[in-house]
Symmetry: none
Subunit: 271 residues, 2 copies
């Protein structure tokens, strides 16, 4: 299936060119491209919008300007109006997630859909809201409800894009899969043998439960084959000094001259 046409964004009476640019930028971030303005306060185009768009020039260049919301949404079918939850309305009020789903379904059927946003100060007029298929309310904390215009577009555009990307990202980067259990078991046994040698399992009757706890905690890391090798290197590096020095110690003891024999004389203390 080809990707459905993404929603048209309509800004009613936007005031600041910076905000128009920021809206274009975030639309591009989430794969939206068609932007319409209704009666922008300072006219159109305005240079400051390009500075704020951070390279989303094609969105700005495609902008069309209209005199009324009615004209701006005339060729669209399902349009939702993003606004704070109104005091009294008989219109459906939906979350951004619910409305994205409805827009997606309609767009997938070949319909052209849209999202309408009010200006920075005035918001949307009731008569314009009434032209739409319903209200989208972003779940703002009522203690601080002044949401930036571009943020309001971002939340809706983000919900759209999560629907477009049906495949969730894999938990791990493609690349190294977890190691086989055989390799893990070898690693555990290596660790436990060295720990045994170091007197870690104390008292001895606790060894089974202590070993199991170690296996559980390390197992959660889901080491790859390479990481198993790395960890075995860690075990080896931690334990090897002990082994080598013990060998030397044994050699010293068995040599008749005590510490003065040639086999032990060459080695200084290691790192």
């Amino acid at each position: 299936m080809s990707e459905p046409l993404s929603p048209v964004v309509i800004l009613d009476k936007p005031q600041l060119a910076d905000n128009i640019g920021a809206v274009a930028r975030v639309m591009a971030n989430f794969g939206l491209s068609e932007l319409r303005l209704v009666s922008p306060r300072d006219g159109w185009p305005q240079d400051r919008a390009w500075a704020a768009a951070s390279g989303a020039d094609w969105v700005l260049e495609g902008i069309r300007v209209f005199d009324s919301v009615a004209e701006a949404i005339a060729d669209l079918t399902t349009v939702f109006a993003t606004t704070a939850r109104p005091r009294e309305t008989r219109m459906p009020v939906r979350t951004p997630r619910e409305s994205a789903r409805l827009l997606y379904d309609d767009a997938a059927s070949g319909l052209k859909v849209g999202l309408l946003f009010g200006g920075e100060r005035a918001g949307l007029e009731t008569t314009d809201i009434a032209l739409t298929a319903g209200i989208v309310t972003i779940p703002i904390d009522p203690r601080h409800h002044s949401l930036n215009l571009a943020q309001a577009v971002a939340i809706n555009a983000y919900e759209w894009r999560t629907l477009i990307l049906d495949a969730p990202p894999p938990k791990f980067r493609e690349g190294a899969p977890p190691a086989s259990n055989a390799l893990l078991l070898g690693m555990y046994e290596h660790l436990e043998a060295e720990l045994d040698a170091g007197g870690f399992f104390h008292p001895p009757e606790k060894k089974p439960s202590m070993s199991q706890n170690l296996r559980v905690m390390l197992g959660r890391a889901a080491f790859s084959e390479q990481e198993v090798a790395t960890f075995r290197g860690v075990i080896h590096a931690l334990a090897k000094g002990r082994g080598r020095v013990l060998e030397k110690l044994a050699a010293m003891k068995s040599s008749p001259a005590g510490g003065g024999g040639p086999r032990s004389g060459g080695g200084g203390a290691e790192g």
Copy 2:
């Protein structure tokens, strides 16, 4: 049930005061309140942030400044790093929705959680990402991937708030909660010091990347406080023999009679 503590937001090396203000504003929109800065480029506080915060003054006034990401997240448990999907990593990569759910569950269990964001240009350093519990990637259109910092915070904060409002039954962690990042960092440093002593980091210039790989692979296991103690016991047990035997060896060498002195004579080779 009381509402779980909302995530702490940490900005690493933010450049523009405007952006810090915009982040504070959108945090307030979605009910987040604790903001931390790591080495802000132009120092802190800065007037322009207040202008951009649009009244979210309490967030700005509560800001704490740190010198490193490690210090800024030391008292937190689960922290996710918001960053573009990295080319190659074995860390878990999640959507904002998935990570919000995990943060919510941990916060509902009484843990203090966080979201880490990189600066405007540089993003996050791999060594800092390695300190976190995983990566959050916002589903950006690859054709226009420059997402504004406040927008990145907005998407994550919005997902958090959606969960709070839906008030799903939190999934309590089975068993012990994860250890704080301060405890994990201490464990990593302990391991690395012993590995250094054992000559593990070879060649030496590879030490940073080798250490980081170890941190990532062990970090995935999300050790509990008890498990950190256990693992430090493991490190100690593996390394201690070396240390003790070396001490004995040094004592033998310094005693005039070589191997026959009383200080070294009593001890056989250990287990």
